[in-house]
Amino acid sequence: MDLATLAALNAERQARRAAVLMSDLASGAQRLVTQAGIAADPLADLLERQLRSGKSGMAEVEGRSFFLTVQAPHPRVIVTGAVHISQAMAPMAKALELDLIIIDPRTAFATPERFPEGTLLAEWPDEALARIGLDAYTAFVALTHDPKIDDPGLVAALRSDCFYVGALGSRKTHGRRLERLAEAGFDAAATARIHAPIGLDIGAVSPAEIALAILAEIVATLRGPRRKPA
């Protein structure tokens, strides 16, 4: 591999953009196809299929063997609310190799002592999210119960193509939330993206169990259904 190709591959990953490296295993020739270039590529179908799978693998093209190295951005989870549930999520997310970012403008909540793991931002969500950016490899989770903090995050998430949006709260709370989002201009199809009640239905009670249910739902959304119902 040329150092220039390796550097380009690393740069795409750094910028949180997907890329596929095609290596001709017989000749050693390689070319890098970036996310932006895939649609126009002669092998677009093959490259897109490989990228969707998220896995590297072999492919035969016109009788030649290629290895496709798939680089998908590292998935991350952005949470509003430096609360009990996000405290429980932090070590679990670390074990799952999900990058966790917790946003809470309330400085009494957002203390490093309470969050030794993950990234903690004591800022308003709209400012923090505008800087971080939400993309197709980002999950957004609203946990504060406070519309002043959660709603701006949800608005940003619904305007983005992040792969998961979830919000904590009872059906009544969520009903009021939907009314506010409707007033902000989001139709039913848009707000249907929000997972509420949040998390897989495992009967979670404690903050740790709710954290587990949320992270399980995020992983399920990221990896997709693989088992067909019996």
């Binding site: 150092l3 390796l6 990953r13 050693g28 590297s56 693998g57 190799e97």
Partner: protein
Amino acid sequence: MISTDTDILRAAEDWARSGRGVAIATVVETWGSAPRPVGSHLVIDGEGNFLGSVSGGCVEGAVVAEAADVIAEGKARMLEFGVADAAAWQVGLSCGGRIKVYVEPVRAGDGG
């Protein structure tokens, strides 16, 4: 794949930039039970330092040894490791399996 394989490629770039000879080994095919998935990387420098994993430990030594030649010759090569069921358990391929590992040099061209 959620893994640190990207950090390994970042390390490969850093090593190459600092003038070290570098080879990248990649699991390109697996048969049977393989402890590391297709796409897993091992990065090796000219002195035999390495990062990452292609097999969970059992064939790394052989790959590192081959990588020295790949770095010296500047030419990629394909390695195949097969482990019979009886021996498999001992070396970590717990159900027996075969893996194909592509080892390529990092060429520090002018464009790098």
